[in-house]
């Protein structure tokens, strides 16, 4: 009997744990009230599913949130936001998207390539809803828009900055997780550095290998990797590693080196205020523009399916000048930007 009680307690703990975990990771959708069925065409109800990190990650997801907030205040659309949990499966992601579709959301945005498989499966069952996925060209369907960015072009420009600003001719790239998406940052960056300093050394380090995605979330590893590069002579570090980047900036600050931000204009982020001195520029990826444009397009009845690339020419990616640390070389960087836009320079996006 005693033994039974123990087992029951353990079962209770399990249930509590699972319950807490799920209520912590999923905000309940707003429209639970059985409003299934086709919504009136004039109303737009937006559901947005974040990648790991969620609103408040000071980076990629926050950028998407800004676009959503802007659409909400301008068009007065109803929005629901759902968060992803660390280490979740594709099935959980798919459930999240289905949950949004079932509760009457007709505009559904999945933030991040991690939703690739989940979105392909979910979108097929809800042909009336319009889906968008950020950073992935893979799901192809009549109701799916693939919003991707030319990260390699933006990275080329910050590579030019790194090449011009480096005194040692040695720069470092830290990728969070070794995925094709992050490799786009790497190859663009390296090409940019070599464009201005052909004999420069570019050190490359990925913090983790998939399926271990903790590399986006481990500042301690960012610090260690950056210290290794700085000890080996680098004086500019470009971390494309989400939350781990903060650790790399700490290392750069302690050793008097320079850092380059990613995704947002990281010089202006409150969470990085203590290391902003080392952030000379940022590769800005305007996810907010893509999210806003998509909602606007659906609302105006202009939905387009398929691949939409936000590149340098369309202002989808750019480089930041906040802090005034690269004012002296902005004209040179702009020159390269013109060359990329005109097609004179082709930036590679794969190794």
């Amino acid at each position: 009997m005693r033994r039974m009680r123990g087992v029951r307690l353990a079962a209770g703990l399990f249930a509590l744990g699972i319950g807490l975990a799920s209520c912590a990771s999923d905000t309940q959708p707003g429209g639970d009230g059985g409003t299934s069925g086709a919504p009136a065409p004039s109303t737009v109800k937006v559901g947005l599913a974040y990648d790991i990190g969620g609103r408040g990650d000071q980076s990629f997801n926050d950028s998407a949130a800004r676009g959503l907030d802007k659409a909400k205040s301008e068009f007065g659309v109803e929005v629901t936001e759902l968060e992803a949990a660390q280490g979740e499966t594709d099935a959980q992601k798919e459930d999240r998207l289905r949950q949004l579709a079932e509760s009457g959301h007709n505009v559904i945005i999945a933030v991040g390539f991690a939703y690739e498989k989940a979105l392909s499966a979910a979108a097929a069952d809800y042909p009336e809803a319009k889906f968008a996925i950020i950073d992935s060209a893979a799901p192809e369907a009549a109701n799916v828009a693939n919003l991707t960015f030319a990260e390699h072009e933006g990275s080329f420009l910050v590579g030019v900055v790194a090449g011009l600003k480096s005194k040692t001719g040695n720069v470092g790239f830290i990728g969070g997780v070794n995925t094709p998406l992050i490799q786009k940052f790497e190859v663009g960056f390296e090409q940019g550095v070599k464009a201005v300093k052909p004999d420069a050394t570019v050190q490359v380090k990925y913090l983790t290998q998939p399926p271990d995605f903790t590399g986006f979330n481990d500042p301690a590893k960012g610090t260690t990797a950056a210290n290794g590069m700085l000890d080996a002579g680098a004086d500019v570090i470009y971390p494309a590693a989400g939350g781990s980047g903060a650790g790399a900036f700490e290392a750069a600050k302690a050793k008097g080196a320079m850092g380059i931000g990613v995704d947002s204009d990281q010089y202006n982020l409150p969470a990085l205020a203590n290391v902003k001195d080392v952030i000379i520029t940022s590769m800005v990826k305007n996810v907010d523009v893509a999210v806003y444009d998509f909602i606007k397009a659906v609302k105006d009845g202009q939905f387009k399916s398929g691949l939409q690339v936000y590149d340098l020419a369309s202002g989808g990616v750019s480089f930041a000048t906040s802090g005034g640390k690269i004012d002296d070389i902005v004209p040179q960087v702009e020159e390269y930007k013109e060359k990329i836009v005109s097609g004179e320079i082709q930036v590679k996006d794969t190794k």
């Binding site: 033994r3 353990a10 799920s22 209520c23 969620g54 903790t214 590893k221 290794g228 590069m229 203590n274």
Partner: protein, 417 residues
Amino acid sequence: MSGGLAVGQQTAPAARRSRLSPMTYALIALGALLVLSAVRVITGAGDLTSTGSVQAALTAAVPIAMAALAGLWAERAGVINIGLEGMMVLGTFGAGYAGYQWGPWAGVVFGLLLGVLGGLLHAVATVTFGVDHIISGVAINLLAPGAALFLSKQFFADAAGGGQKQSPRIQDAEKVSVPGLPDLLGSIEDKRWFFVSDLAGILRGLTTQVSLLTVLAAVLIAGSAFVLWKTPLGLRLRSCGEAPVAAESLGVNVYKYKYLAVTASGAFAGLGGAILAVTSGQFRDGQTGGRGFIGLAAMIFGNWRPGGLATGAGLFGYTDALALRGSLAVHALLLLLAIALVVVAVWQYREGAPVLSAVSAAIGVLFAWWYFTSDGIPPELVGAAPYVVTILVLALASQRLRAPRAVGEVYRRGEGK
């Protein structure tokens, strides 16, 4: 008290085996350093013994060592604590919550206290209610990240610089250097002399810009060794892990000691999480990344002893640091591992274990062949280096491991056979 003493000695067969003397340990360390220097010279991978590597290794090793120490306390009292990871997560949240408001040391204390809560939960489940230790531990591993995430949304979402899954920045703890030494050692390290420079690099890494949290961890490991092996309290606690029924018959309150041990275990795990969060500069959801489990492995590799677990955590921290800092040193690690395996092969042969010796030698030759026929290790495998090295050492050293006899068994007062 004399009754308690007898319990420990009678039921611990390991005591029969002659322990290595401190002199032997010093000789082994000297030999290892000589090999390390030789490999550094042969491969040109200066990172093997550089100040930066040693510093990074220390930083990486400390949270793992604290988790291992937490495991040691619990398992020595007979309770398996697989919930270390969850207790570490509670510690990271505690450090984030108190750390950004009142400074790093408040964060450390608060993280430790939350760890104690996790430990108490485990103690209530396993000691009072006799729940299977693994089930309770897994429950804590599920519960803690959920609770931490829930709390983080409550407290950090609206704080300046925070987010739903991360705390605002925490100030790092103070770092200290031994006065005068860094410059002197630094100049020797730069000479690149065989052995001398390597020794200087390692010493410089251990004496320059060392976080006070690292010092605290070292003190706690040494303190645990003293308390568990040199005091009556420690003896009684260990007797609960070896033969609880015998301890009970001699008047030891087994429940009390198990509670004490598991609560202390929670405290150390929470501290490990807190140190991780403070050195990372913030709390982040999912930050621990399996360090609790690695700590458990380090403790087993360390043969349930403080010195051993510190070595295990250090080994993991060192290879992890090398893997993150650059690829050249990881390539050199192949050669180092090959030499180490050959040494193990010779030693096992003399111990009368020809099969094990042959296996070690074969793997060693394989690594040597790999080193000499390649220019580097594919990046996909570099990240695996810490795990491969730890597993290899674990597998070859595990021949002499002995767990506390009654670990994992449910003990009920008065029901001894």
